[in-house]
Amino acid sequence: MPELPEASAHEVRAFDRPIVMVPLLSLIAAFGGLFGSFTVSANLLVLAVGGTMVWLGLSGRAGRRTAVLRLGPGALWWLVPVLVLGLTELYSFLHGSRDDYPTVSFIFDPILDRYLPRAAGYFGWLAGFWALVRR
């Protein structure tokens, strides 16, 4: 598969290291886990953190990993989970997202009401965001 050239070393900033990013994201997640849904604080934090990540991702300031320009037919296998998850979510959503027809958020909202799962979920969201920023 043809690939774009990798980000050169000088493009990668000092903060772009796991030893810096993991504690930083953990700290934000531990803080973010304190705020419940529908609060101004939770909205402001997601707005600020997400806005910073999007800015980093669009500006390329964090450096980027090698990108694949063309995919082989094996990539079509990814349509299986995407369609299964997407269509199931859509089906449940169209039926009102209730106990008989749960959507992903209907399943996870009660779990994310507690601090530890919420902070862990927040960390997962941030880590995924950072991985996308570096792509």
Binding site: F35, F38, V46, L47, P81, V104, L132
Partner: protein
């Protein structure tokens, strides 16, 4: 119906885990999840990085949906 829907969600996630594992094998023709994300994010219309905006925007919305709204 709840059991069917939960089973489908679990199957979808397990399929992703399986594909990620297959992608790590030597000589695999299945790309990894990161390659898929990178491919989508490289999509541009003219000079506008549509794929990048869509993926980052979707992820931002996901966090807002689960942790703020």
């Amino acid at each position: 119906m709840k059991a069917v829907i939960l089973t489908l969600f679990v199957l979808g996630v397990l399929t992703m885990v399986l594909l990620s594992w297959l992608a790590r094998r030597d000589g695999s023709k299945v790309p990894g999840f990161g390659d898929m994300a990178g491919f989508v994010m490289a999509y541009q219309v003219g000079r506008v990085p549509v794929g990048r905006i869509a993926m980052l925007g979707f992820w931002w919305w996901l966090g807002w949906h689960f942790f703020a709204r």
